[in-house]
């Protein structure tokens, strides 16, 4: 990956190389050989991290993509050296303790990515950010037993909304200032919201949603206010500097807001109480069916928005991401229908319709792919 986040063969090879080295170091750390003094272990990682950084620096002028991979390796090795210190000094291995280490690592990797303007290091920072949020969520769930099963799910949902909103807001802010990192933030924001949206489009998820609004304001406010501020500022700045069309700015923000409104207000309007965990549509109450249909409608709107934006912006990675989620979505709905229509004749009919449908979809996908690639070229 180059500075601007474009994929090249050299970039792919050197990135995979850096990841393999990182995995090797993780194995080395996990072995924790007693024959090797702690000081020697720290020294090995300090030398390896410094060597990776120096290689990145030396290669920057003539081999930019390899240099980027070396900077990414520096960020990973540096993060691992924090975990090595935690291992040597027996810092407790709870979700909270590991999440604290990730937060420290996030500060370092994010700083490094901005100083070096390194796209791959930013990917490490975003990955660290996501991992930090997950560990922090799990830690909160474990600590707050009163949250219960529904509360735990609501917190996961809320944190994912916050992550998605934060990444989307950062994407808009970077776009406003024509910063190279804007496409990376956009891709990760899309990746996160697709994950969230896909989960919510399933029948089994519907029973968890009504519990969301019962969470305390202490948990809700900061998690929604920060991304809302980022999105608001990002939308305003990128619109005023004419770096994004009104349609793109509002459709992105509307989908994020749409999810929040659907999660928080919809169950109240439909009079839903939490706790209906069903897999078959026949077992769902009408209110839950309406909620399920609305989440599917938002998800389809999300797919169309991302495909449309990716095509106009000539961003193949975004279009492929949306298509991947489209395929997963269709597969999930198809399996859902098979589960709903039990009985030999119904299943036989569904399989035949599904088979024909897939062949037709394959034909149009191929046509669409060729058309998109031709447009991008």
């Amino acid at each position: 990956m180059s500075k601007k986040g474009e994929l090249t063969v050299t970039g792919v090879f050197s990135t995979i190389g850096a990841i393999l080295i990182s995995l090797g170091v993780i194995w080395f750390l996990a072995s924790n050989w007693h024959q090797m003094p702690s000081f020697a272990k720290i020294l090995i990682l300090v030398i390896a991290t410094s060597a990776a950084y120096f290689a990145g620096y030396k290669l920057e002028a003539e081999h930019e993509t390899i240099s980027q991979a070396m900077y990414m390796l520096t960020a990973i090795l540096w993060t691992l050296s924090l975990f090595l210190i935690a291992q040597i000094f027996n810092l407790t291995s709870t979700f909270q303790a590991n999440s604290n280490i990730l937060l420290v690592a996030l500060i370092g990797t994010a700083t490094l990515s901005y100083l070096l303007r390194s796209a791959l290091t930013l990917v490490v920072a975003i990955f660290t950010f996501e991992a930090w949020v997950w560990l922090q969520t799990l830690s909160t769930v474990m600590a707050m037993e009163a949250l219960g099963f529904e509360g735990a799910f609501s917190l996961i949902l809320l944190n994912q909304l916050a992550v998605t909103g934060t990444l989307f807001g950062l994407a808009l802010l970077h776009r406003a200032y024509k910063q190279d990192f804007a496409p990376i933030y956009t891709w990760w924001a899309a990746f996160s919201i697709f994950g969230l949206g896909f989960w919510l489009s399933n029948q089994a998820a519907q029973g968890f949603v009504p519990g969301f609004w019962q969470m305390s304001m202490f948990l809700l406010l900061p998690r929604l206010a920060v991304p809302a501020l980022l999105i608001g500022a990002g939308t305003y700045l990128s619109l005023s500097q004419k770096k994004i069309s009104k349609f793109d700015a509002w459709s992105g923000a509307s989908i994020w807001l749409g999810y929040i409104i659907a999660i928080s207000i919809l169950p109240t309007i439909l009079g839903l109480a939490p706790g209906q965990y069903v897999f078959r549509i026949w077992d769902m109450s009408p209110g839950y069916i309406v909620q399920w249909l609305i989440f599917n409608a938002i998800y389809i709107a999300l797919m169309l928005t991302v495909i449309s934006f990716g095509t106009r912006e000539k961003r193949t990675s975004l279009v492929y991401l949306a298509l991947l989620y489209f395929v997963v979505y269709i597969a999930a709905r198809y399996i859902g229908f098979i589960a709903d229509l039990s009985g030999y004749l119904a299943i036989s009919t569904m399989f035949i319709i599904g088979g024909i449908g897939l062949i037709v979809v394959a034909y149009f996908l191929n046509k669409f792919r060729k058309h998109t690639l031709a447009q991008l070229r």
């Binding site: 000094f89 027996n90 810092l91 407790t92 370092g108 707050m144």
Partner: protein, 168 residues
């Protein structure tokens, strides 16, 4: 060149700060021995470790702490050289002669001190039964603690290690 200098300084300062934070109790803390009972899980990055449950981790019936409260436990040395809790409080108690204070966080029915993991080599096993094992812990004046070693009869416990081969 300036950006590289700043990048190296930022990484080095955070690294050194974290190393300082993690090693400070071991380097300067007061040493105490605490009684414990272990089990052994695995951390994805840091490897195999023993989860330690401390005698001082149990909250006596007369105390009732809210989840997540910082708790200070005054430790006093018993005749067998083991430090045991003398009192529990939500405020930092006054330091006194022969008293050590350890800081923890209260949970439903136990207190977490941040010293519940002891990392060992992958595949290592204790040579003896894990009964009557103590942890030698160093504690800073503010109550933060760090494990130095596991002990049995006041001597470091011995582990049996696997033979290290290239394919092991």
């Amino acid at each position: 060149m300036k950006k590289h200098l700043i990048a190296v300084i930022v990484l080095a300062v955070i690294f050194a700060g974290f190393l300082f934070y993690a090693s400070w109790p071991t380097a300067t803390g007061t040493g105490v021995e605490l009684k414990l009972m272990p089990v052994d899980p695995f951390d994805l990055i840091r490897g195999q470790y023993l989860t330690l449950r401390y005698e001082i981790g149990t909250i006596p019936e007369q105390y009732n702490f809210t989840e997540g409260t910082t708790v200070y436990v005054v430790l006093k040395k018993d005749g067998d050289e083991i430090h045991r809790p003398a009192s529990y409080s939500e405020q930092m108690p006054q330091a006194g002669e022969g008293r050590v204070v350890i800081r923890g966080t209260s949970h439903k029915d136990w207190i977490e001190y941040g010293i519940e993991s002891y990392f060992i080599e992958r595949g290592a096993v204790l040579k003896e039964q894990m009964t009557n094992v103590t942890a030698y812990v160093k504690i800073l004046p503010d109550g933060r603690a760090s494990i130095v070693e596991l002990r049995k009869d006041h001597k470091p416990v011995e582990f049996e290690y696997r033979e290290v081969k290239f394919t092991s």
